[in-house]
Structure formats: C-alpha cells, structure tokens
C-alpha cells in the first residue's frame, strides 16, 4: 500500500504542469505583443529619426551649393555693373598692360610678374577676335574676380568667368600656371558645365549645376555651378564656381545611420554618388522610381518589394535627391532582440515561479496529503490511532478535522458493526434452525397431505361401497324376516289335523282344496325369495371383497415407509391405477399402458406410490373438459440411456399455460375447488427424496400434459 509511489500523475506535478502551460501561453502572448509594440515604436522612432537625419544631412550638405549660388549671383551683379562702368581708357592701355597676345596666337595674362596664386588669369584661345566689347567683358571679369576671387577662395577652389566666344577669366590659386600652360586651342565652351548656361539649354537663365565630372586638370570629382549673364538680350558671360564633391561623396557613402545606406541622384536618375556595388540595377531603379513618383510633401516611403524604408530630402541648389535607405530588418532586429529579452525574462520568471510553486505545493499540499494517505492506509488496515495536524486554519486544517471526526465515527461504527455482526450471526443461526424446523414440518405436512389425498379417495370409495353393503344386507335381512316359513308349519299342522281323511280333506274340503296350490305357490315364493336374498348376499360379498381390495391397497402404502426395498415398478403403476380405478371408470377414462418389463428396483415404495397416485388422479381431473370418449390416459415406463427409469403419465386434457408450468409445483397451488395444492408439491419433494425428479411438459392450454417421473435405476438383484 504505497499509493504515492504508484502515482502516475501526482497532484503537485499535474498542477505545476497545468500552471506552467498556462503561464507559458501568457508569456508567449506577452512576448508577441511586446514585440509588436516595440516594433511599432521602434519603427515610428526609426522613421522619424530617418526623416530627421536625411533632412539634416541635406541641409548641411546643401550649404556649399547655396553659397556658390549666392556667390555667383553676387558676382553676376558686380560684373554687370563693372562692364557698364568701364571707360575707354581702361579698354586700351590697361588691357594691353595686363594681357598680351602670345606667339601661339592666343591672348593671355602677361607672364612677367604673373603670380597665379594671387592673380586672376585671362585666356583667349587662338583665333578668337578680341573686340572692344570682348575687351570690356574680359577686363570687367578680371576686375571683379580680382576683387572677390580671393575672398571666395576660402570655400571654393576657383571662380571663373567664361565668355560664349571661348575666352576664360579665372582665379585658381591651386593651379597658378594653368593659364599659361593650357593649349592655345582650349575652348572652354566645349566643357560640359558651360553648356548649361547657353540660352538654348537654360531659357530661364537660372544658376545651374553641371553633372558630376572629373576635372581634367586636377583629376577631382566636381560639379560646376554656372550662372549666365545676359546684357541687352545677348549672352555676355557665364560665371562659374566649382564645388569639389569628394567630401559630399565621402559623407554620402560613409556617414550613414547604422544599417542604412545613402544614395544621391539627380531627378533624371543619374547617380551623383555611385551606389554600393552589390546593389542590383533593378533595386536601384525601383528606389529611384518610387522617389520620383512619390506624392508631394512625402519624405518617407516604404519599398515593400525589398522591405526597405526610404527617406528623401532634396539638396537645394543642384536639386539632387539625397535618399537614405533603411532596411526593415534594421528596425525589426532591435524589436526582435527586445522581444527575445522579454521571452527570456518570462521563461526565467516561469521557471522561478514553478520552482517556488513546487516548493510551496510540496510543503503545503503534497506533504499534508501524504499524511492523509498514510492515515487512510492505517485506518484501512484497522488501526484507528491517527494524528493529524488540525491546528491549521486553512482547508487542510478543516479536512484534517473532518478526517479525525470521520475516523472516530468509523471506529465507533466498526465497533457497533462488529457487535451487531456477532449478534447477527447468532440470529442467523437461530433463524436457520427455525427455518430447518419449519421446513421439516412443511415436508411432513406435505407428506401427510399426500397421504390425505390417498385417504380421502379411499374413504370416499369405501364409504360408497359400504353403503351398498349396508343396503344389500338390510334388504336381505328384511327379506329373510318376511319369508313365509311359518306357513309351512301351519300347513303341516292343518294336514296333521286331517291326517285321517287327508285325501278327502285335500280333495273336498273347502280349505283343504287350497292346500296344495298354496304349497306350490309358497314353494315357488320361497325359492324366489331365496334367490333374491342370495343375490343380495352375493352383492354383500362382492362389495365386501371390493372394500377389502381397497383397504389392502391402502394398507400397502399407509404403512410407515421403509427407506429402500425392492419394488416392481410395473405392479406399483398398476396399484396406482387401481386405487384410482373407481374414479377413472366413473370419468370414463381409457387407460393405455406402455410399460417396459423391468426387474425390481430399490426405492421407497410409499413415496413412489404417492407420486403415481397423485399423477393419475390429476390426469383424471385434467380430462374433465374433454368429451368422455376421447379421454385417454397414457402411462409409459421405460429405461433411459442415462441409467434412469422414466415413468410418464400423459393426458390429453386441459393442458397447462406456459406461465403455470413453473407455479404448478408450488406449495398450495391448485386449480380445483376441492384441491388442497399439496399433491404436486409433495410429489415433487418426494421425487427429489428418491434421488429423481418430477417434471412437467405441456404445449399449452388444451394441448394435454405429460408429467415425467425419473427415478434412479438401482436394480434390486445387483445390490442384493
């Protein structure tokens, strides 16, 4: 009895398991929602940050371009004023003092004393006609650049003015000798940046930025800002400043948000900064496309195809698009990480909780329950001394209290039960004894009743026959007393009186003549009377004999039965029929015998006889409803293959309903008014006592019935 060791699902473990599963579900859900929440927060923050970042970057990067535009606008105004302000004396000697036509045909700054790091240089390609107007523009440009060029040099490497005809005026301290080194056929109008100032390319006459190119001289990436100056409706000059893009490119490529990368391209999609080399063209095209087609005012876009966010800012000035691309995973990664932390913490707390819970359960529930179990085991084994902790104020305390009460009650009841049991045994014994007595009495009365059945028949039969004996005897006596015997002596006396004349007396005397006829008649009368009396006395004899038969048969069976004696069953059957003979005759029952000849059998003659008499008597009554000519009683006797003797009493009478077949052997069961219900009951009992059985079979009401008595076949010879 170690239930705890056999438990496959202890309470504590299953409770823990259930709680653990529930908490785990809660933790999972919490983690999931935390993740969603963090992801959302992070994304919002990231996008705001992204937008801010790109805007700030754009603002900081676009400064140089705005500054260049401001510079150009300022120079443009100054140049225009200077052109108009120059007088004739400036165009002649001063021009020639500053510039000279070189041997190669070009016009350049005079080389003597020229310091390119501080001086503005002038170059007019070979073949370009230098007229007064050109002189004016060249000189004005020279003056203006000389005035402002060094100031701009703080932020810009060079400042220069080109004329549509090809000359160039430039302040470029980094390359002081370029003005003299360049070939005489160098046409600045062929440069890429110049074309942006042509009227056909720039009808609005705005400041425009060239695409990025690598300067032939310095070999650096740059973009050139150029503003055209029109005078009197004619393109007079273009003012330009170069902006070195290395820094911008460097910023764009290297200075990015963690996980993000930057792109810089023009509206037409031409990249200013080469994108990362691993980037697919299709990817880039999509980005550019979504940036170009974005609704106005929108600066943050989602690129669902590549799980990326785009923040767009426009660089004022060149109008380039600065795009920061933030991959989604950069945003979700921290969310995932945070969720992982939540999950980890949850699991940790779960484990901790379960551990604490296990501990609590073990001390608060399992151990007390174990105590209860042990207490129960002890009680089951009959030991009622259990000590439970009833001092607790919780349910277990209550349980312990109730348990204690229960134990006391069980102990009390067990005691009472044991006492009751003892007295019960006694009572049962008494009752059994009583029942045995009753049964014995019952058997006796059933047996007596069986005998009473025989006695009733006998007495009735004897009574009836005796009646006839009385009557016949009485009549005989009456006849005897009324016999006229006295007349014989009177006639004799009369004849004696006339002894002497007897002949005459008989022949002639009036009285004497009657003597002979009287004697004849008297003799005849006496003979008749004697015959009558003899008949009556014969009847008496016959009836008496009949009574004798009846009594003899009765005597055979009314004796105290011997247990076993050799019995000729055939004769026994005949006796049973004989006892019922009067009734059978009266009821006009035809008896058919099918009796196999058997040697004497050891059995209780009295009991067997009683059974057979009962069966024959019952069969006789059962056929009352059948027309007399059809009443047939069949008695059959045979040995069965199973070593029994079977005697069957069959009638074709009223039959037995199926529900009656079981009741028919019950004590007191009868269908006849005069019946006492003992017959079949005692017969069945007797059959059992003989070691055999009495059974009945009937197809139903009106189908007749067969009673079968089976007795053990114990041959008298064999046992003797």
């Amino acid at each position: 009895m170690q239930p705890t060791s056999r438990l496959r699902a202890p309470l504590a473990r299953s409770t823990l398991l259930k709680m653990g599963v529930r908490i785990a579900v809660v933790i999972t859900l919490t983690t999931f929602f935390s993740y969603l929440h963090i992801l959302h927060t992070l994304r919002t923050e990231a996008l705001a940050h992204l937008e801010q970042h790109v805007t700030e970057r754009a603002q900081s990067e676009q400064g140089i371009f705005l500054l260049a535009e401001d510079n150009l606008a300022f120079i443009k105004r100054a140049l225009e004023e200077r052109i108009r302000a120059l007088g004739p004396e400036d165009l002649g000697p001063r021009f020639d003092r500053l510039f000279v036509r070189m041997a190669d045909g070009s016009v350049r700054s005079r080389p003597e004393g020229f310091d390119g790091t501080r001086t503005v240089g002038v170059f007019v390609p070979r073949g370009v006609k230098v007229d007064e107007d050109m002189r004016r523009r060249l000189l004005a440009s020279y003056d203006v650049l000389t005035s402002y060029g060094p100031a701009f040099h703080v932020r810009f490497s060079d400042t220069f003015v080109t004329l549509p005809e090809g000359p160039i005026v430039i302040y470029w301290p980094e390359h002081p000798t370029w003005i003299h080194d360049t070939t005489p056929d160098f046409m600045v109008t062929q440069q890429v940046y110049f074309s942006t100032s042509l009227p056909e390319n720039n009808p609005e006459r705005r400041t425009l930025w060239s695409e990025v190119y690598t300067d032939e001289v310095s070999g650096r990436s740059m973009s050139t800002s150029t503003t055209p100056l029109d005078l009197d409706g004619r393109h007079a000059a273009s003012i330009s400043q170069d902006v070195m893009l290395e820094e911008l490119m460097d910023h764009t490529i290297n200075d990015h948000l963690p996980g993000a990368y930057n792109l810089l391209f023009r509206d037409d999609g031409t990249p200013i900064v080469q994108p990362p080399t691993q980037m697919e063209g299709e990817h880039l095209r999509r980005i550019i496309e979504s940036v170009r087609t974005r609704p106005p005012g929108v600066s943050v876009l989602k690129l669902p195809e590549h799980d990326e966010y785009l923040a767009v800012a426009r660089l004022l000035g060149p109008g380039w698009n600065l795009v920061t691309v933030l991959p989604e995973h950069v945003v979700s990664q921290p969310a995932l990480l945070a969720a992982r932390y939540v999950l980890l913490l949850g699991i940790l707390s779960l484990v901790l909780e379960l551990a604490i819970m296990a501990w609590v359960l073990r001390w608060q529930i399992t151990r007390p329950l174990l105590t209860f179990t042990q207490a129960t085991d002890r009680i089951a084994s009959g030991e009622f001394q259990v000590e439970l902790d009833t001092s607790r104020n919780d349910e277990l305390g209550q349980l312990a209290h109730s348990f204690q009460c229960m134990v006391d009650e069980v102990r009390r009841r067990e005691k009472a039960l044991r006492e009751a049991n003892e007295s019960l045994e006694q009572r049962v014994e008494e009752r059994t004894r009583e029942l045995k007595d009753v049964h014995r009495q019952l058997v006796q009365s059933a047996r007596r009743a069986g005998m009473a059945e025989i006695a009733t028949n006998v007495l009735h039969n004897v009574g009836n026959v005796l009646n006839s004996v009385y009557t016949a005897a009485q009549l005989a006596r009456e006849r005897m007393t009324s016999l006229r015997l006295e007349h014989v002596s009177r006639v004799a006396g009369m004849l004696q009186e006339h002894q002497d004349d007897i002949g005459a007396f008989l022949a002639q005397d009036e009285r004497g003549r009657n003597v002979l006829p009287f004697l004849g008649k008297l003799g005849q009368n006496l003979l008749e009377e004697r015959k009558e009396i003899a008949t009556l006395l014969d009847d008496v004899g016959r009836y008496t004999e009949h009574i004798g038969d009846i009594v003899k048969v009765q005597q055979n069976y009314a004796r105290t039965p011997r247990v076993q004696e050799p019995v000729h069953l055939e004769a026994l059957v005949e006796d049973a029929l004989r006892i019922n003979a009067a009734g059978l005759t009266r009821h006009q029952v035809k008896v058919v015998r099918q009796l196999e000849a058997l040697p004497p059998v050891l059995t209780d003659k009295h009991k067997a006889m009683m059974i057979l008499v009962n069966l024959v008597s019952n069969a006789k009554y059962a056929m009352d409803g059948v027309p007399p000519v059809e009443r047939i009683l069949t008695v059959k006797m045979e040995r069965t293959p199973t070593g029994l003797v079977r005697i069957q009493v069959h009638d074709n009478g009223m039959g037995i309903a199926p529900e009656m077949l079981t009741r028919i052997f019950q004590y007191g069961f009868t269908t006849r008014e005069e019946g006492h219900g003992f017959g079949l009951h005692s017969s069945a009992l007797a059959a059992q006592e003989l070691g055999g059985s009495l059974t009945v079979h009937s197809e139903g009401p009106g189908q007749g019935a067969t009673f079968t008595l089976e007795l053990p076949y114990a041959s008298a010879q064999q046992s003797a």
């Binding site: 004996v469 009557t471 009285r511 009368n525």
Partner: protein, 170 residues
C-alpha cells in the same frame, strides 16, 4: 295408489351408480310377483292377516341424476311439468362437475322450498358453513354414508309427507 301422479317424486343426485341402486332398493321395495295369489290362498287357508296387509307404505317415484347439472335440469323440468320433486338426495362429492354445495345453491334458486338431504361418505366439508349459507334446517338434512336403509326411508317419509302431517311427525 297405482296412479303415478300420486307417487311422491324423489330425485337422487349422485355420481356413483351403486348408490342409485341402493336408493331404489330402499325406497322401491320390489313388488312381489304372485303376491296377491299367495295372499288370497293364505287368507283362504288361515284367515285374514291384518298385520301384513295393513302395512301399506306410500310409493316413491325415484329418478336419477349423476351430476349436479343434470339434477338441476330435472328439477326444473319437473317444476315446468307441474309434478315437482318433493325431495332430493344430493351427494356432496360429484367430480368433475358441481359439488353438493354448488348444486344446492342452484337448486335453491330454482326451487327455494325443495327438501334436500345432503349425503357424504367423507366429511370433507363443514356442515356448519353449509347451514350458515342455507340456514333452513327443516328443508335441509344431512345423511352420512354408509347410511341405514330405515333412516333413509324414514327421512323420505317425513320429508315427503304433506305439510300438516310433516309438522305432526317432525
């Protein structure tokens, strides 16, 4: 006296043939053939013999029924014919049909004042119960088998006598 209508009608209801013979033997002593001749000769020889000739008994007409049902129908027929029975000897045990009590009950329904003598060879019924039910002692008597011929004859005479003589003798 030879007129059959004067005879007192008695019905015997019993399932035993022999009992009917007994009743007839008791109630109808055989008419002795040639008795008249012999008596005449006797008178001629010895003078009149009053003792014998005075002993004139009423004659009974004895009918037989072997079952209660048959008995009832005979009683009913006799009533309808205007020649009712004055006395019935009724056996108690007459299987398989009605027993004595049942037959008596039905006879009473048809003929309430009919005298009945209930016979039995074996007292397997309670006479007290019978009287409790039928309660008319002067029309119901008991006769135990085996019976005495004189007793039967006396009963027949008493119970078949006209009312005034019955009250005298009873």
């Amino acid at each position: 006296m030879s007129n059959p209508t004067d005879k007192r009608r008695i019905l015997v209801i019993d399932d035993s043939e022999a009992i009917h013979t007994d009743f007839r033997r008791i109630l109808n002593p055989e008419q002795r053939r040639g008795r008249d001749d012999l008596d005449l000769l006797e008178e001629a020889l010895f003078g009149p013999t009053p003792s014998r000739t005075h002993d004139v008994e009423p004659e009974f007409e004895v009918d037989s029924a072997f079952q209660g049902q048959e008995g009832l129908s005979k009683v009913r027929e006799a009533l309808e014919a205007g020649r009712p029975y004055t006395l019935v000897f009724l056996d108690y045990r007459m299987p398989p049909g009605w027993n004595g009590a049942e037959t008596l009950r039905r006879l009473r329904a048809v003929a309430p004042t009919l005298n009945v003598v209930l016979c039995s060879a074996y007292s397997d019924y309670s006479w007290t119960e019978i009287f409790q039910e039928f309660g008319e002692q002067h029309t119901l008597r008991e006769l135990r088998k085996p019976f005495n011929g004189q007793e039967v004859r006396q009963l027949a005479l008493t119970l078949t006598a006209p009312k005034e003589s019955a009250s005298k003798s009873g």
